[in-house]
Protein backbone atom coordinates (compact mmCIF):
# COMPACT_ATOMS: atom_id res chain seq x y z
CA UNK A 1 0.00 0.00 0.00
CA UNK A 2 1.11 3.55 -0.71
CA UNK A 3 0.02 6.41 1.52
CA UNK A 4 0.64 10.06 0.77
CA UNK A 5 0.16 12.33 3.74
CA UNK A 6 0.07 16.10 3.47
CA UNK A 7 2.58 16.21 0.61
CA UNK A 8 3.85 19.63 -0.43
CA UNK A 9 6.06 20.35 -3.42
CA UNK A 10 7.12 23.78 -4.71
CA UNK A 11 9.27 24.75 -7.65
CA UNK A 12 11.10 27.98 -6.96
CA UNK A 13 8.24 29.23 -4.84
CA UNK A 14 5.53 28.03 -7.21
CA UNK A 15 3.39 25.47 -5.36
CA UNK A 16 2.46 22.37 -7.35
CA UNK A 17 1.39 19.96 -4.62
CA UNK A 18 -0.22 21.62 -1.61
CA UNK A 19 -0.89 19.14 1.11
CA UNK A 20 -1.94 16.20 -0.99
CA UNK A 21 -3.44 13.09 0.65
CA UNK A 22 -4.00 9.82 -1.17
CA UNK A 23 -4.03 6.10 -0.45
CA UNK A 24 -3.34 3.50 -3.08
CA UNK A 25 -4.42 -0.04 -2.26
CA UNK A 26 -2.65 -3.20 -3.29
CA UNK A 27 -3.96 -4.80 -6.44
CA UNK A 28 -6.12 -1.95 -7.65
CA UNK A 29 -6.06 0.13 -10.79
CA UNK A 30 -6.36 3.75 -9.79
CA UNK A 31 -6.53 6.53 -12.35
CA UNK A 32 -5.47 10.07 -11.54
CA UNK A 33 -7.29 12.68 -13.58
CA UNK A 34 -6.63 16.40 -13.69
CA UNK A 35 -5.87 19.25 -16.07
CA UNK A 36 -2.56 19.56 -17.90
CA UNK A 37 0.01 21.08 -15.59
CA UNK A 38 -1.98 20.09 -12.50
CA UNK A 39 1.03 18.15 -11.22
CA UNK A 40 0.23 14.56 -12.15
CA UNK A 41 3.72 13.79 -13.39
CA UNK A 42 5.20 15.54 -10.36
CA UNK A 43 2.99 13.36 -8.14
CA UNK A 44 4.32 10.25 -9.88
CA UNK A 45 7.91 11.31 -9.41
CA UNK A 46 7.33 11.92 -5.73
CA UNK A 47 5.78 8.48 -5.30
CA UNK A 48 8.75 6.80 -6.96
CA UNK A 49 11.26 8.90 -5.03
CA UNK A 50 12.64 10.63 -8.12
CA UNK A 51 11.68 13.91 -6.48
CA UNK A 52 11.67 14.66 -2.80
CA UNK A 53 8.64 16.51 -1.45
CA UNK A 54 9.27 19.70 0.53
CA UNK A 55 7.22 18.24 3.37
CA UNK A 56 4.83 15.41 4.05
CA UNK A 57 5.11 11.64 4.13
CA UNK A 58 5.14 9.11 1.33
CA UNK A 59 4.74 5.67 2.85
CA UNK A 60 5.41 2.67 0.65
CA UNK A 61 4.58 -0.65 2.32
CA UNK A 62 4.98 0.92 5.73
CA UNK A 63 8.23 2.77 5.02
CA UNK A 64 8.34 6.55 4.71
CA UNK A 65 10.58 6.93 1.66
CA UNK A 66 11.19 10.62 2.28
CA UNK A 67 13.33 9.67 5.28
CA UNK A 68 15.50 7.05 3.58
CA UNK A 69 19.11 7.52 2.56
CA UNK A 70 20.08 7.02 -1.06
CA UNK A 71 20.90 3.31 -0.90
CA UNK A 72 17.77 2.43 1.07
CA UNK A 73 15.62 4.47 -1.27
CA UNK A 74 17.20 2.76 -4.22
CA UNK A 75 16.07 -0.61 -2.89
CA UNK A 76 12.49 0.59 -2.51
CA UNK A 77 12.58 2.07 -6.01
CA UNK A 78 13.02 -1.37 -7.51
CA UNK A 79 9.45 -2.14 -6.39
CA UNK A 80 8.26 0.33 -9.00
CA UNK A 81 7.96 0.16 -12.73
CA UNK A 82 7.30 3.37 -14.56
CA UNK A 83 6.08 4.05 -18.04
CA UNK A 84 7.17 7.62 -18.71
CA UNK A 85 5.14 10.15 -20.63
CA UNK A 86 7.76 10.19 -23.40
CA UNK A 87 8.70 6.51 -22.92
CA UNK A 88 12.26 7.53 -21.88
CA UNK A 89 13.91 4.65 -23.70
CA UNK A 90 17.71 4.64 -23.57
CA UNK A 91 18.50 5.86 -27.05
CA UNK A 92 22.05 4.58 -27.02
CA UNK A 93 20.72 1.02 -26.70
CA UNK A 94 18.57 -1.10 -29.01
CA UNK A 95 15.16 -2.53 -28.11
CA UNK A 96 16.63 -5.74 -26.72
CA UNK A 97 19.08 -3.97 -24.42
CA UNK A 98 16.38 -1.58 -23.26
CA UNK A 99 14.08 -4.38 -22.17
CA UNK A 100 16.98 -6.40 -20.74
CA UNK A 101 18.32 -3.42 -18.78
CA UNK A 102 16.52 -4.11 -15.52
CA UNK A 103 16.86 -7.87 -15.87
CA UNK A 104 20.63 -7.55 -16.00
CA UNK A 105 20.74 -5.44 -12.88
CA UNK A 106 17.95 -6.77 -10.70
CA UNK A 107 17.84 -10.49 -11.45
CA UNK A 108 20.36 -13.30 -11.65
CA UNK A 109 19.20 -14.46 -15.08
CA UNK A 110 21.81 -15.66 -17.54
CA UNK A 111 21.89 -14.48 -21.15
CA UNK A 112 19.74 -17.39 -22.40
CA UNK A 113 17.05 -16.68 -19.82
CA UNK A 114 17.20 -12.96 -20.54
CA UNK A 115 16.79 -13.63 -24.24
CA UNK A 116 13.72 -15.77 -23.62
CA UNK A 117 12.20 -13.26 -21.20
CA UNK A 118 12.73 -10.33 -23.57
CA UNK A 119 11.09 -12.24 -26.43
CA UNK A 120 8.17 -13.06 -24.12
CA UNK A 121 7.74 -9.44 -23.06
CA UNK A 122 7.92 -8.14 -26.61
CA UNK A 123 5.23 -10.61 -27.56
CA UNK A 124 3.03 -9.30 -24.76
CA UNK A 125 3.28 -5.77 -26.19
CA UNK A 126 2.86 -6.99 -29.77
CA UNK A 127 6.37 -6.18 -30.90
CA UNK A 128 7.86 -9.59 -31.52
CA UNK A 129 11.02 -9.57 -33.59
CA UNK A 130 11.97 -5.96 -32.98
CA UNK A 131 14.87 -6.86 -30.69
CA UNK A 132 17.61 -5.42 -32.87
CA UNK A 133 15.92 -2.17 -33.85
CA UNK A 134 17.56 1.01 -32.59
CA UNK A 135 15.30 3.29 -30.57
CA UNK A 136 15.52 5.93 -33.31
CA UNK A 137 13.70 3.57 -35.68
CA UNK A 138 10.61 3.27 -33.47
CA UNK A 139 7.38 5.23 -33.82
CA UNK A 140 5.85 6.96 -30.80
CA UNK A 141 3.46 4.10 -30.15
CA UNK A 142 6.18 1.49 -30.46
CA UNK A 143 8.34 3.41 -27.99
CA UNK A 144 5.56 3.39 -25.43
CA UNK A 145 5.10 -0.33 -25.83
CA UNK A 146 8.82 -1.03 -25.52
CA UNK A 147 8.78 1.23 -22.45
CA UNK A 148 5.99 -0.91 -21.04
CA UNK A 149 7.88 -4.12 -21.77
CA UNK A 150 10.92 -2.66 -20.02
CA UNK A 151 8.84 -1.65 -16.99
CA UNK A 152 7.18 -5.07 -16.80
CA UNK A 153 10.46 -6.96 -17.11
CA UNK A 154 11.46 -6.80 -13.49
CA UNK A 155 7.98 -7.75 -12.20
CA UNK A 156 7.41 -4.59 -10.17
CA UNK A 157 4.82 -4.53 -7.42
CA UNK A 158 3.62 -1.09 -8.50
CA UNK A 159 3.35 0.10 -12.07
CA UNK A 160 2.89 3.76 -12.88
CA UNK A 161 1.62 4.69 -16.30
CA UNK A 162 2.07 8.35 -17.23
CA UNK A 163 -0.32 9.05 -20.11
CA UNK A 164 0.17 5.63 -21.69
CA UNK A 165 -2.22 6.24 -24.57
CA UNK A 166 -1.69 9.92 -25.34
CA UNK A 167 -0.73 10.37 -28.96
CA UNK A 168 -1.66 6.83 -29.98
CA UNK A 169 -4.35 5.93 -32.47
CA UNK A 170 -7.57 4.54 -30.94
CA UNK A 171 -6.81 0.92 -31.82
CA UNK A 172 -3.37 1.02 -30.24
CA UNK A 173 -4.73 2.94 -27.28
CA UNK A 174 -7.34 0.25 -26.79
CA UNK A 175 -4.71 -2.48 -26.88
CA UNK A 176 -2.65 -0.63 -24.25
CA UNK A 177 -5.71 -0.28 -22.03
CA UNK A 178 -6.39 -3.99 -22.36
CA UNK A 179 -2.77 -4.62 -21.49
CA UNK A 180 -3.04 -2.54 -18.33
CA UNK A 181 -6.03 -4.60 -17.22
CA UNK A 182 -4.35 -7.86 -18.15
CA UNK A 183 -1.16 -7.02 -16.28
CA UNK A 184 -3.17 -5.99 -13.27
CA UNK A 185 -5.28 -9.15 -13.26
CA UNK A 186 -2.65 -11.74 -14.12
CA UNK A 187 0.35 -10.38 -12.28
CA UNK A 188 -1.54 -8.64 -9.46
CA UNK A 189 0.35 -5.47 -10.22
CA UNK A 190 -0.99 -2.40 -8.49
CA UNK A 191 -1.47 0.08 -11.30
CA UNK A 192 -1.51 3.84 -11.08
CA UNK A 193 -2.53 5.54 -14.29
CA UNK A 194 -2.55 9.12 -15.44
CA UNK A 195 -4.69 9.63 -18.49
CA UNK A 196 -6.67 12.17 -20.46
CA UNK A 197 -8.59 9.37 -22.08
CA UNK A 198 -11.59 9.67 -19.74
CA UNK A 199 -13.68 6.97 -21.37
CA UNK A 200 -11.13 4.19 -20.97
CA UNK A 201 -10.09 5.59 -17.61
CA UNK A 202 -13.61 4.99 -16.35
CA UNK A 203 -13.70 1.57 -17.97
CA UNK A 204 -10.50 0.07 -16.66
CA UNK A 205 -10.15 1.64 -13.21
CA UNK A 206 -11.33 0.41 -9.84
CA UNK A 207 -10.98 3.91 -8.45
CA UNK A 208 -10.44 7.39 -9.77
CA UNK A 209 -8.79 10.34 -8.03
CA UNK A 210 -9.24 13.94 -9.11
CA UNK A 211 -6.19 16.19 -8.75
CA UNK A 212 -6.75 19.93 -8.72
CA UNK A 213 -5.06 22.91 -7.03
CA UNK A 214 -2.38 20.60 -5.69
CA UNK A 215 -4.67 18.31 -3.72
CA UNK A 216 -6.84 15.28 -4.40
CA UNK A 217 -10.30 16.80 -4.31
CA UNK A 218 -12.26 13.61 -4.80
CA UNK A 219 -11.74 9.88 -4.93
CA UNK A 220 -14.18 7.09 -5.64
CA UNK A 221 -15.29 4.34 -7.96
CA UNK A 222 -15.96 5.40 -11.55
CA UNK A 223 -19.69 5.51 -10.76
CA UNK A 224 -19.18 7.65 -7.68
CA UNK A 225 -16.97 10.03 -9.63
CA UNK A 226 -19.50 10.31 -12.45
CA UNK A 227 -22.16 11.24 -9.94
CA UNK A 228 -19.95 13.49 -7.86
CA UNK A 229 -21.52 16.65 -6.45
CA UNK A 230 -18.25 18.57 -6.85
CA UNK A 231 -19.03 21.21 -9.45
CA UNK A 232 -15.41 21.52 -10.66
CA UNK A 233 -15.18 17.79 -11.22
CA UNK A 234 -18.50 17.59 -13.07
CA UNK A 235 -17.28 20.35 -15.39
CA UNK A 236 -13.96 18.64 -15.93
CA UNK A 237 -15.55 15.33 -16.83
CA UNK A 238 -18.22 16.80 -19.07
CA UNK A 239 -15.49 18.62 -21.02
CA UNK A 240 -13.92 15.28 -21.84
CA UNK A 241 -17.13 13.40 -22.56
CA UNK A 242 -18.50 15.87 -25.08
Amino acid sequence: MIQLKNVHKNFEGKPVLRGLNLEIYDGEIITIIGASGAGKSVLFKNIVGLMKPDSGEIIVDGVDITKLDEDELHKVQTKFGMLFQGAALFDSLNVYENVAFGLRRLTNMNEVQIKRKVAELLEVVNLSGTQNLPVSALSGGMKKRVGLARALATSPKYLLYDEPTTGLDPILADSINKLIVKVNKQLKVTSIVVTHDMKSGFEISHRIAFLSDGVIKETGTPDEIKNSKLEELRKFISLYFQ
Binding site: K45, F84, L89, F90, F101, G102, P156
Partner: protein
Protein backbone atom coordinates in the same frame (compact mmCIF):
# COMPACT_ATOMS: atom_id res chain seq x y z
CA UNK B 1 26.95 34.20 -6.04
CA UNK B 2 24.95 32.03 -3.66
CA UNK B 3 23.90 29.95 -6.65
CA UNK B 4 27.53 29.50 -7.62
CA UNK B 5 28.41 28.08 -4.21
CA UNK B 6 25.41 25.75 -4.17
CA UNK B 7 26.38 24.55 -7.63
CA UNK B 8 29.99 24.11 -6.63
CA UNK B 9 28.95 22.20 -3.51
CA UNK B 10 26.75 19.88 -5.54
CA UNK B 11 29.48 19.34 -8.10
CA UNK B 12 31.92 18.40 -5.33
CA UNK B 13 29.35 15.95 -3.92
CA UNK B 14 28.94 14.33 -7.32
CA UNK B 15 32.72 14.05 -7.70
CA UNK B 16 33.05 12.49 -4.27
CA UNK B 17 30.23 10.01 -4.91
CA UNK B 18 31.68 9.01 -8.24
CA UNK B 19 35.11 8.36 -6.84
CA UNK B 20 33.74 6.34 -3.90
CA UNK B 21 31.49 4.42 -6.27
CA UNK B 22 34.51 3.41 -8.37
CA UNK B 23 36.00 1.70 -5.33
CA UNK B 24 32.87 0.33 -3.68
CA UNK B 25 30.37 -0.64 -6.39
CA UNK B 26 30.29 -2.93 -9.38
CA UNK B 27 31.79 -1.18 -12.40
CA UNK B 28 30.03 -1.32 -15.78
CA UNK B 29 33.07 -2.38 -17.80
CA UNK B 30 31.17 -2.78 -21.08
CA UNK B 31 30.03 0.82 -20.99
CA UNK B 32 33.48 1.95 -19.89
CA UNK B 33 35.14 0.25 -22.85
CA UNK B 34 32.52 1.68 -25.18
CA UNK B 35 33.29 5.15 -23.86
CA UNK B 36 37.04 4.72 -24.31
CA UNK B 37 36.51 3.72 -27.93
CA UNK B 38 34.11 6.61 -28.42
CA UNK B 39 36.48 9.21 -26.99
CA UNK B 40 39.31 7.82 -29.10
CA UNK B 41 37.22 7.79 -32.27
CA UNK B 42 35.96 11.29 -31.71
CA UNK B 43 39.21 12.91 -30.72
CA UNK B 44 42.24 11.00 -32.02
CA UNK B 45 42.28 12.38 -35.60
CA UNK B 46 41.80 15.92 -34.31
CA UNK B 47 44.45 15.51 -31.65
CA UNK B 48 46.99 14.21 -34.15
CA UNK B 49 46.22 16.98 -36.60
CA UNK B 50 46.48 19.71 -33.98
CA UNK B 51 49.62 18.18 -32.50
CA UNK B 52 51.33 17.98 -35.89
CA UNK B 53 50.55 21.55 -36.87
CA UNK B 54 51.54 22.88 -33.47
CA UNK B 55 54.89 21.14 -33.83
CA UNK B 56 55.26 22.47 -37.34
CA UNK B 57 54.54 26.09 -36.53
CA UNK B 58 56.72 25.87 -33.43
CA UNK B 59 59.67 24.55 -35.41
CA UNK B 60 59.15 27.31 -37.93
CA UNK B 61 59.04 30.05 -35.31
CA UNK B 62 62.03 28.80 -33.34
CA UNK B 63 63.99 28.18 -36.53
CA UNK B 64 63.30 31.59 -38.05
CA UNK B 65 63.89 33.40 -34.77
CA UNK B 66 67.22 31.71 -34.17
CA UNK B 67 68.23 32.37 -37.78
CA UNK B 68 67.50 36.07 -37.37
CA UNK B 69 69.55 36.20 -34.15
CA UNK B 70 72.33 33.65 -34.68
CA UNK B 71 72.24 33.34 -38.48
CA UNK B 72 71.52 29.62 -38.16
CA UNK B 73 68.72 27.51 -36.75
CA UNK B 74 69.59 26.14 -33.33
CA UNK B 75 67.91 24.08 -30.60
CA UNK B 76 64.78 23.47 -32.63
CA UNK B 77 64.37 19.93 -31.34
CA UNK B 78 65.16 20.89 -27.78
CA UNK B 79 62.80 23.82 -27.43
CA UNK B 80 60.07 22.03 -29.33
CA UNK B 81 60.32 18.86 -27.27
CA UNK B 82 60.19 20.62 -23.95
CA UNK B 83 57.35 22.98 -24.83
CA UNK B 84 55.34 20.16 -26.33
CA UNK B 85 55.79 17.58 -23.65
CA UNK B 86 55.50 19.97 -20.72
CA UNK B 87 52.77 22.32 -21.90
CA UNK B 88 51.38 22.29 -25.40
CA UNK B 89 50.73 18.56 -25.52
CA UNK B 90 48.63 18.27 -22.39
CA UNK B 91 46.97 21.68 -22.62
CA UNK B 92 46.10 21.76 -26.32
CA UNK B 93 44.96 18.15 -26.27
CA UNK B 94 42.74 18.87 -23.29
CA UNK B 95 41.23 21.88 -25.01
CA UNK B 96 40.58 19.92 -28.21
CA UNK B 97 39.11 16.99 -26.30
CA UNK B 98 36.91 19.36 -24.31
CA UNK B 99 35.48 20.78 -27.51
CA UNK B 100 34.95 17.38 -29.04
CA UNK B 101 34.38 14.58 -26.52
CA UNK B 102 33.50 16.79 -23.55
CA UNK B 103 30.84 18.70 -25.46
CA UNK B 104 29.41 15.50 -26.92
CA UNK B 105 29.26 14.01 -23.44
CA UNK B 106 27.36 16.95 -21.94
CA UNK B 107 24.94 16.93 -24.86
CA UNK B 108 24.34 13.20 -24.51
CA UNK B 109 23.77 13.27 -20.76
CA UNK B 110 21.72 16.47 -21.05
CA UNK B 111 19.45 14.81 -23.60
CA UNK B 112 19.08 11.82 -21.32
CA UNK B 113 18.11 14.18 -18.52
CA UNK B 114 15.46 16.16 -20.36
CA UNK B 115 13.92 13.03 -21.90
CA UNK B 116 13.67 11.39 -18.45
CA UNK B 117 16.12 8.61 -19.32
CA UNK B 118 18.03 9.49 -16.15
CA UNK B 119 14.83 9.07 -14.08
CA UNK B 120 14.20 5.76 -15.80
CA UNK B 121 17.51 4.39 -14.49
CA UNK B 122 16.34 4.40 -10.88
CA UNK B 123 13.48 1.91 -11.20
CA UNK B 124 15.64 -0.39 -13.30
CA UNK B 125 18.22 -1.11 -10.65
CA UNK B 126 20.68 1.56 -11.65
CA UNK B 127 21.42 5.24 -11.13
CA UNK B 128 23.43 7.91 -12.91
CA UNK B 129 26.54 7.69 -10.75
CA UNK B 130 27.34 4.07 -11.56
CA UNK B 131 25.79 3.90 -15.03
CA UNK B 132 26.77 7.30 -16.44
CA UNK B 133 29.54 8.88 -14.39
CA UNK B 134 31.83 6.06 -13.34
CA UNK B 135 32.36 4.62 -16.85
CA UNK B 136 33.04 8.06 -18.26
CA UNK B 137 35.42 9.07 -15.47
CA UNK B 138 37.47 5.93 -15.98
CA UNK B 139 37.34 6.26 -19.76
CA UNK B 140 38.61 9.82 -19.67
CA UNK B 141 41.27 9.04 -17.11
CA UNK B 142 42.63 6.31 -19.35
CA UNK B 143 42.15 8.02 -22.72
CA UNK B 144 43.43 11.53 -22.21
CA UNK B 145 47.04 10.65 -21.30
CA UNK B 146 47.17 8.35 -24.31
CA UNK B 147 45.84 11.10 -26.55
CA UNK B 148 48.46 13.44 -25.10
CA UNK B 149 51.19 10.97 -26.02
CA UNK B 150 49.82 10.92 -29.57
CA UNK B 151 49.84 14.71 -29.67
CA UNK B 152 53.43 14.80 -28.35
CA UNK B 153 54.62 12.33 -30.97
CA UNK B 154 52.81 13.91 -33.89
CA UNK B 155 54.08 17.33 -32.77
CA UNK B 156 57.66 16.10 -32.64
CA UNK B 157 57.30 14.48 -36.07
CA UNK B 158 55.61 17.57 -37.51
CA UNK B 159 58.43 19.70 -36.15
CA UNK B 160 60.96 17.34 -37.63
CA UNK B 161 59.44 17.64 -41.10
CA UNK B 162 59.49 21.43 -41.05
CA UNK B 163 62.96 21.56 -39.46
CA UNK B 164 64.42 19.28 -42.11
CA UNK B 165 62.56 20.35 -45.24
CA UNK B 166 62.06 24.03 -44.63
CA UNK B 167 65.05 24.98 -42.52
CA UNK B 168 67.58 22.33 -43.49
CA UNK B 169 68.10 21.32 -39.88
CA UNK B 170 69.99 17.99 -39.56
CA UNK B 171 67.77 15.10 -38.49
CA UNK B 172 70.47 13.54 -36.31
CA UNK B 173 70.84 16.75 -34.33
CA UNK B 174 67.07 17.03 -33.91
CA UNK B 175 66.87 13.51 -32.48
CA UNK B 176 69.81 14.05 -30.21
CA UNK B 177 68.04 17.03 -28.70
CA UNK B 178 64.80 15.11 -28.36
CA UNK B 179 66.62 12.36 -26.52
CA UNK B 180 67.65 14.70 -23.72
CA UNK B 181 64.03 14.52 -22.56
CA UNK B 182 64.00 12.65 -19.29
CA UNK B 183 61.36 10.49 -17.71
CA UNK B 184 60.61 13.32 -15.28
CA UNK B 185 59.72 15.68 -18.13
CA UNK B 186 57.33 13.14 -19.55
CA UNK B 187 55.76 12.45 -16.22
CA UNK B 188 55.24 16.19 -15.73
CA UNK B 189 53.10 16.30 -18.87
CA UNK B 190 51.32 13.04 -18.20
CA UNK B 191 50.54 13.86 -14.57
CA UNK B 192 48.95 17.07 -15.72
CA UNK B 193 46.87 15.24 -18.28
CA UNK B 194 45.47 12.93 -15.58
CA UNK B 195 44.26 15.96 -13.67
CA UNK B 196 42.85 17.61 -16.81
CA UNK B 197 41.06 14.38 -17.66
CA UNK B 198 39.21 14.41 -14.33
CA UNK B 199 38.46 18.11 -14.74
CA UNK B 200 36.98 17.73 -18.22
CA UNK B 201 34.86 14.68 -17.46
CA UNK B 202 33.68 16.09 -14.15
CA UNK B 203 32.53 19.37 -15.69
CA UNK B 204 31.02 17.60 -18.71
CA UNK B 205 29.05 15.12 -16.61
CA UNK B 206 27.90 17.63 -14.04
CA UNK B 207 26.63 20.12 -16.61
CA UNK B 208 24.91 17.27 -18.41
CA UNK B 209 23.06 15.98 -15.37
CA UNK B 210 22.04 19.51 -14.32
CA UNK B 211 20.47 20.25 -17.71
CA UNK B 212 17.00 21.79 -17.59
CA UNK B 213 14.54 22.99 -20.19
CA UNK B 214 14.38 20.77 -23.24
CA UNK B 215 16.53 20.91 -26.36
CA UNK B 216 17.39 24.54 -25.76
CA UNK B 217 18.66 23.64 -22.31
CA UNK B 218 20.91 20.97 -23.79
CA UNK B 219 22.51 23.57 -26.07
CA UNK B 220 23.09 25.93 -23.18
CA UNK B 221 24.53 23.23 -20.94
CA UNK B 222 26.93 22.15 -23.67
CA UNK B 223 28.26 25.64 -24.28
CA UNK B 224 28.63 26.23 -20.57
CA UNK B 225 30.43 22.95 -20.10
CA UNK B 226 32.98 23.76 -22.81
CA UNK B 227 33.65 27.31 -21.62
CA UNK B 228 33.98 26.39 -17.94
CA UNK B 229 36.18 23.44 -18.78
CA UNK B 230 38.55 25.49 -20.93
CA UNK B 231 38.94 28.20 -18.32
CA UNK B 232 39.54 25.63 -15.59
CA UNK B 233 42.15 23.82 -17.66
CA UNK B 234 44.17 26.98 -18.26
CA UNK B 235 43.91 28.22 -14.68
CA UNK B 236 44.61 24.83 -13.15
CA UNK B 237 47.57 24.43 -15.48
CA UNK B 238 49.40 27.31 -13.85
CA UNK B 239 48.90 26.14 -10.28
CA UNK B 240 49.51 22.53 -11.14
CA UNK B 241 52.75 23.43 -12.89
CA UNK B 242 53.93 25.41 -9.87
CA UNK B 243 53.09 22.46 -7.65
CA UNK B 244 54.92 19.94 -9.83
CA UNK B 245 57.92 22.23 -10.10
CA UNK B 246 58.07 22.60 -6.33
CA UNK B 247 58.28 18.80 -6.15
CA UNK B 248 61.11 18.86 -8.65
CA UNK B 249 59.13 17.18 -11.39
CA UNK B 250 60.42 19.18 -14.37
Amino acid sequence: MKKFFINFGNAVMVFYKTITSIFTKRIEWDTTLEQIVKIGNESLPLVILCGAFTGMVFALQVGETSISIFNEPIYIGLSLAYSLVLELGPVLTSLVVTGRAGAAMTAEIGTMKVTEQIDALYTLGSEPISYIFVPRFIAFFVSLPILVLFADCSGILGGLVVAKLKLGYPISKYWEEIRTLGISTFSHGILKSFVFALLIVWIACYNGIETKGGAEGVGKATTKSVVVSMVFILVTDYFLTSLLLSFGIV
